[in-house]
Symmetry: C2
Subunit: 421 residues, 2 copies
């Protein structure tokens, strides 16, 4: 069977299974999740053995140590997967909620019901934990799932798929409710993202290269996150201590995350006061500062100082590097952000009410904050309970995406025999 | 300038204007809508003169009478446009609403703010009224708009565009907040649907042919409506009078609308009672019935009877034709609908609580109803106040789309200097 036919069959099976997944009640879906968690604990040895096959092959193929690290299924990685599933069980069921039922002049009563999207395709790299996380969230939200993990993890993913299927069966759900694509052929990805008749949404979890490629080719809608060029703007009326705390934390708490600040904007009125103090904090972490002419003058003598070019405004460093620009005030800050930001997360530090309100309203990003570190832009910090991904898009889900992002609202009408006049 | 360059410029101008449109307060946006309504009333003669140029050209080109009819700007069409704008003014402002602000353990307070999508592209056929309706809804929801109407209406659309621009300017809003594409070259559509950097969503309003073409080529997300193959299922436990009323109204109230019933499913237990009675009603309207073998037997002698083939289950007649099938019961009805429906609107007629609840939960369509005519699936009937279109999709907006469908939710964080630990 060729790849296209194989994927067609996977898609058909997913569509059929999605109906039973959507019909299942809360207890049944939670039962499946618990059985899967139990099975992973019980079969930890077998999982490690499968993972070893992957690790040996990857090492023989010369995979980079960082990649090998992500591929490895350690004891603690297994424990985290199990714990993650048990946490998903404890979340409230997003499915079936009926809201807003209102009577209309015609006599009908109209509202909305939250329902699963149907079939979710997840495309990710060689990280076996994503297989379990993603399957868990999709089962909880009543969706069928097609998982396409990195080919380096194929043995481990097969072993996990077997346990997931057993868990589904044990709860009376179809085994095809979660399917792991059982081929390492890259054409499978191309097929998966061009089957809108079988797949309702694609959630890619991976680096920029993967996402950019999928964007080019996908005919299925995506919940996707491309990059995070996040800004902090220190307003003229900022509390200096809050400014130091937030600008330091937003850059230095972790360098490699998408909600890390990449550009700092400072109002001219406060720059001479706050930038030198901030530089002392960054110096301890050896953060390179790429400053515009005005900031460069103020920061003169800082050991890791460079001149910013326009390219810096458009760069996600994911490293101990920060672009710094002095601006006239709020208008120029908003203009800079709306021009250069990746529309992920931006924060203003200010004690001025009107500036705070204008920033929240006028900055066109998924998360806008006052007096808080951009590092809070995260499904767990926002109270979503779990996160399937982060969306830079404006349609459907925007920002951190929890279980609700895997659902849609359909209209429900309670009638009493009404007809249209 | 070639079309691609021209559209690029239109897109850039829209993106710039979208920021001012999003910043404008409710009073300013309503002021613009009122000024446009006033101007259309005042300039009715000029509009009719422009429309006459279009009508003469169209008649010379041999446009079909039905098309000429839609193109014509009668006195009552002008009055309806003006009244529509005044109704939009009276709707509540969807923009800026902040909801769900909750404190998190970290100390930050998190919720969501409703904001415009940005730039909306509307592609429609030669109906000048859509120019004003769509512009009105986009202005109300704080979006910039690019309107691409049918080339037959170009003179009238140009005249309307001038009045819209004057209204925007009179309210202190940018004239580029609404742009009418000023060329009849079809390449303009191709450019518009492939500029995701400038256009956030495309709303096509037109026939299936237009939509199908756009689906092939668009790289911008669409809020689209393809077809309406709607079902009524008469359950074994149906109230016979409600069944007759609803099945007659859903088919015969209007034949050409997307929420008209195209297939009737009847439970075997009630078919011999209800189908002959129903046939009497349909006979008065000369509705052709395309029946499966079992229904055909019951309907024997009906003057407009034919045998249904599988193709009938997949056909949107938009005419006085109805497919009829006898099913075992609820399970087979749901299965038929989930297989053949265009996922628009389906209704069950029943007095049985469990069957009603199962139908609502398990039928995967944008609108699911109990004991009501499918003809109620409509933005006005649902209380949305206005309708920009209907969506068959599951992501973002589903079913009738009102002003909210032209908005998105961004996360808002109120902090007090919090940083991530």
């Amino acid at each position: 069977m060729d790849i296209k036919q194989y994927m067609e069959q996977v898609g058909k099976q997913a569509r059929v299974a999605s109906r039973a997944m959507a019909r299942a009640d809360s207890a049944q879906r939670n039962r499946a999740l618990t059985l899967i968690a139990d099975a992973i604990e019980r079969e930890a040895d077998a999982l490690r053995a499968a993972n070893k096959l992957d690790l040996d092959a990857a090492a023989a193929n010369g995979l980079a140590p960082a990649m090998l690290d992500r591929l490895a299924l350690s004891d603690s990685a297994i424990a985290t997967m199990v714990e993650g599933l048990r946490q998903i069980v404890a979340l409230p069921d997003p499915i079936g909620e009926i809201s807003g039922m209102k009577f209309r002049p015609s006599g009908i009563q109209v509202g909305q019901m939250r329902v699963p999207l149907g079939v979710i395709g997840i495309i990710y790299e060689a990280r076996p934990n994503v297989t379990v996380d993603a399957a868990g969230l999709c089962i909880k939200s009543g969706n069928a799932t097609i998982l396409r993990g990195g080919s380096e993890a194929i043995n481990c993913n097969r072993a996990l798929a077997k346990l997931v299927k057993e868990g589904l069966a044990g709860a009376g759900l179809p085994g095809d409710g979660v399917q792991v694509v059982d081929t390492t052929d890259r054409a499978a990805v191309g097929a998966l993202i061009t089957m809108p008749q079988y797949v309702d949404v694609i959630v890619p979890r991976g680096g920029k290269g993967l996402i950019a490629r999928l964007m080019e080719e996908s005919t299925v809608p995506m919940i996707k996150h491309l990059d995070g060029i996040c800004h902090v703007y220190i307003d003229a009326k900022a509390d200096p201590q809050k400014a130091l705390d937030i600008a330091f934390n937003a850059k230095c708490h972790r360098y490699g995350t998408c909600n890390t600040m990449e550009t700092l904007l400072v109002s001219r009125a406060i720059a001479p006061t706050v930038l030198p103090e901030l530089a002392k904090l960054y110096a301890a972490k050896q953060v390179e500062l790429r400053a515009d002419a005005e900031a460069h003058k103020i920061l003169e003598g800082y050991p890791h100082l460079a001149h910013a070019t326009e390219e810096d405004w458009a760069t996600e460093y994911l490293a101990a590097i920060l672009a710094v620009r002095v601006v006239d005030g709020l208008d120029q800050a908003i203009d800079h952000i709306n021009t250069w930001s990746s529309k992920h997360t931006e924060s203003i530090v200010t004690e001025d009410y009107t500036d705070a309100m204008r920033f929240l309203r006028e900055v066109d990003s998924a998360s806008v904050m006052v007096n808080a570190s951009t590092r809070f832009a995260d499904g767990f910090e926002y109270g979503l309970g779990a996160e399937i991904g982060i969306s830079n898009d404006k349609l459907h889900a925007r920002g951190p995406v929890g279980l609700e992002g895997l659902t849609s609202l359909k209209y429900v009408v309670f009638g009493h025999g009404e007809v249209r006049k």
